[in-house]
Symmetry: C2
Subunit: 273 residues, 2 copies
Amino acid sequence: MTVQVLVNGKPGHEISVFDRGLQYGDGLFETLKIVQGRALFWDRHMDRLERGCERLGLSSLPRNALWQEAEPLVQNLARGVLKLIVTRGEGERGYQPPQQAQGTRIWVVQAAPAYPPTNAQEGVRIRFCETRLGHNPRLAGIKHLNRLEQVLARAEWDDPEIAEGLMLDGQDNVIEGVMSNLFVVSRGHLLTPDLSQCGVAGVIREWVLETVAKLGMVCRECPVSQAMVNTAEELFLTNSLMGIWPVRQLEAHPLAVGPVTRRLQKALEEVYG
Amino acid sequence: MTVQVLVNGKPGHEISVFDRGLQYGDGLFETLKIVQGRALFWDRHMDRLERGCERLGLSSLPRNALWQEAEPLVQNLARGVLKLIVTRGEGERGYQPPQQAQGTRIWVVQAAPAYPPTNAQEGVRIRFCETRLGHNPRLAGIKHLNRLEQVLARAEWDDPEIAEGLMLDGQDNVIEGVMSNLFVVSRGHLLTPDLSQCGVAGVIREWVLETVAKLGMVCRECPVSQAMVNTAEELFLTNSLMGIWPVRQLEAHPLAVGPVTRRLQKALEEVYG
């Protein structure tokens, strides 16, 4: 498929070198899964974007105006990825945000990533990364453009058999995957790492946290140690494009795909329709 | 003066939205002071850029090729700022760095910032920022494009009487200014914060560390507490465009401009010529 790009409402592939998105990573992004012209979990993505704008003091268009721009790009698309980047726009030299910033918004529509269907069916192999996540409560949870930690972590391996890497913080807590959130079934309890200090609060992670309650289960957000991950009964990973991937091997340690993972996968498939 | 921009050797103000500098802050920058067509501390800036490239696994042109591009932009310039941004260039979707990345290099020549001459002569007023610096030893010291912590810290005040804000890490160590490095004379000892966990190792900071030895002084890189800063005999700030600014007031606490600061200012003026 052809890649389509819209910058501030106009077709075009370029932005100014003075855009603070480039200069400082001063912005946010969202990556949405498109199925049959629908942007899945649109409102959850927009909720997170708005939380991020509030945190950074950015302004953005209201979500209905954003959808008016995006809809013509995806309405005839059976499957694909819709990425939105929102930056503070152009600025003068220096870190101080301009008072009258005209934000930049960029839409990119691309083909869906070619993940093997076995990833969701049979599970994936993953590893631990050396690169750590720094603590910053003011940036934790939001999907901002400062992503060097993820870039360095992802550069640690190029074995295509390894689908994902787990990242720890400086205090040896397991936080998330490079591109996904982590869930752990440990001694019969479903857990996911606390993201108050670092990490990205994913849209599917949020959906899981709400859905378990409806299924009569409990999921606790708490510190997760490497030992808890290494001795888990089940591990699974979530993100908007992947959905839910069971982990079948962590480093040299094999895992079975368990009932909690399967139940949530089934519930998510019903949402995808 | 007219702002001049060169992108990969060609005049133009735009880069691709697929550039990883925008997508992830996957790049580095240097800000050089131009005086009479000379780029001050060129080799120190290029040393840091090369250290940053090594850390991130980026490739860049050799420094003589970079100077061939930059020299025509600045050779007739009496005073100004030369900024270089180097990114990993365009990439496909996802954090994994492309194997055959064609880096992007951007030169921007702008007017020198209009700092009041009293800043260097009489000193500046500064404050403490609330925004903390997260720890990441793999990113500490280099001048990368992930600068949201600085953006948030600089957004904390807009009183033009406050020239700079000091940033702490999560363990309450004072690390640096938003745009500068900090030196402290405490109980007769010259100190500057250790930057092994976070912070930018500035070019003038490096010059001070080398120059004190030539002047028969000692400067120690070590953890610096808020108490040490609050009770200091002298405080000064350094960066490539400012040079050395004494601090005459930190929050409500006045300071005298002391002999160590004046001696280093004088030595730096000799370099500037």
